[in-house]
């Protein structure tokens, strides 16, 4: 394996995701046919903030899941800093954190600090050192006061921030977030956006919040498994509006 090179960014090389026909599906149904979730796409993402917008079911999540190795490309390849997301998946996941829409789905341990500790098991074998590192990670986000709280007692915004700390605790260099503000109210959405803005990591996120998308350096518009627009935020949002409301890109 070559030494990882962050300058190479996140690269899609003719990457496509195709779901084969389900042999048990009802003949004539969508599942009985081969379905292309993501058509072959080639792009390199080096910008600090990249937003992905598009309708529900357009392929945004699939595109993001390829970056962390949660989904495998059926054809082509995806690399992160030169590491292949299939062949080097474990090394890729040490570099790429993934934030889900529902924070409760990704918080495994019942107490905040314990959940952060879970992410640090590989790097801190000794419990006291692991606890200290987890507390420091929470403190970096101003969340040290939540350390002893139950994850079930937190507000939605607090949960999402704790999930973010857990995801980035092990020093990931890229954050992939799949609609991180969808379940949040206005105040918590604004708070998370401020936190995102201050992150040193490259952040690639899918969102339906067009104001949030407008903060990105680059925006991809996805429609029916194809990247139909790739460019500067304002132009991309205009293209998406035309697409969603009729008139094409």
């Amino acid at each position: 394996m070559d030494a990882p090179a962050p300058s190479e960014g996140v690269c899609f090389h003719e990457a496509a995701v195709v779901v084969p026909p389900d042999p048990g599906a009802v003949p004539g149904s969508a599942e009985a046919r081969e379905r292309t979730i993501l058509h072959p796409c080639t792009l390199t993402l080096r910008e600090r903030r990249v937003a992905v917008i598009g309708a529900n079911g357009s392929g945004k999540s699939t595109l993001l899941r390829l970056i962390n190795g949660l989904s495998r490309p059926s054809a082509g390849a995806v690399t992160v800093h030169g590491l292949d997301t299939v062949r080097d998946v474990h090394a890729v996941r040490r570099r790429v954190g993934f934030l889900f829409t529902d924070p409760l789905a990704q918080l495994i341990m019942p107490i905040v600090v314990e959940d952060v500790e879970l992410s640090l098991k590989a790097t801190h074998r000794e419990r006291a050192a692991r606890r200290q590192a987890a507390l420091e990670a929470l403190a970096r986000f101003g969340l040290e006061h939540l350390a002893a709280r139950s994850v079930y007692d937190l507000s939605g915004g607090e949960r999402q921030l704790v999930a973010l700390v857990s995801v980035l605790a092990a020093g990931q260099q890229v954050l992939v977030a799949d609609e991180p503000t969808t379940l949040l109210d206005l105040r918590n959405t604004a708070k998370l956006r401020r936190v995102f803005e201050g992150l040193p990591q490259q952040v690639i996120y899918a969102t339906h919040d067009l104001d949030f998308a407008a903060e990105a350096d680059r925006v991809l518009v996805v429609d029916e498994g194809r990247i139909v627009f790739d460019g500067e935020a304002r132009a991309a949002i205009d293209a998406y509006r035309r697409l969603a409301l009729g008139g094409g890109t």
């Binding site: 474990h90 996941r93 789905a105 341990m109 879970l118 098991k121 002893a148 079930y152």
Partner: protein, 210 residues
């Protein structure tokens, strides 16, 4: 899934002697209590064991003591049913001995959960499971499996409640046949999302036997 909030025995932080006791001592005391009530199934032993758990809950602090009666809310009917069955078959003394002993064991186990961080419990489990390495089973993965299982129980209970509410909102009377399908689907979805979260965080990548 709203059911996430229904917890079996979540840590109540504190600095009481029970909280500070080492894990091995908690397990030793728990084992001693369970063995005693299993071997000596008399009403007096069961009563003594129950009184001991009340005392230990009190020693763990007011917040922990307040949780002592909680299992009776959801499981009280089961205890009553078992006690009635035992009384009918074996008499009063055995009924109190068996059901009282069972409740004492449950309470003692809850006290361990309520006063010990889950990470400490898992570390203890990892130590106990070390011999599993001989059969190429990673103790860390074993402990994590237990943690995920514990997390799943309240989630499944919550999805049952969610589906019941959804049925009631549509004017349907909840029944097991109606609930089964949606609950299974919700549970499988929860399992998928948990798997995704574990994979995305690379938690399973740490196993030396992967």
């Amino acid at each position: 899934m709203r059911g996430h909030v229904y917890q079996l025995g979540l840590l109540i932080p504190g600095a009481s002697p029970i909280h500070r006791a080492p894990l091995w001592l908690k397990y030793a005391a728990l084992s001693a209590l369970c063995i005693t009530v299993l071997v000596e199934r008399t009403a007096w032993i069961a009563a003594g064991a129950l009184a001991t758990t009340v005392l230990l809950f009190a020693l763990a602090g007011r917040r922990v003591l307040a949780l002592w009666p909680r299992p009776f809310r959801s499981l009280g009917w089961l205890f009553a049913l078992l006690a009635a069955h035992q009384w009918w078959l074996n008499g009063f003394d055995t009924a109190v001995g068996v059901v009282g002993g069972m409740v004492a064991c449950l309470q003692a186990a809850r006290l361990v959960l309520l006063t010990t961080p889950q990470s400490e419990l898992l570390d203890g489990l990892v130590r106990v499971a070390r011999p599993l390495r001989w059969v190429r089973c990673d103790p860390e993965t074993f402990a994590l499996t237990i943690a995920v299982m514990l997390r799943s129980i309240p989630a499944v209970a919550g999805s049952i409640r969610d589906v019941s509410d959804a049925a009631a909102a549509r004017g349907l009377r909840p029944n097991p046949a109606l609930l089964a399908g949606p609950v299974v689907v919700a549970t499988v979805d929860f399992a998928h999302r948990t798997g995704d979260a574990l994979a995305a965080r690379g938690v399973m990548d740490q196993s030396e036997f992967r």
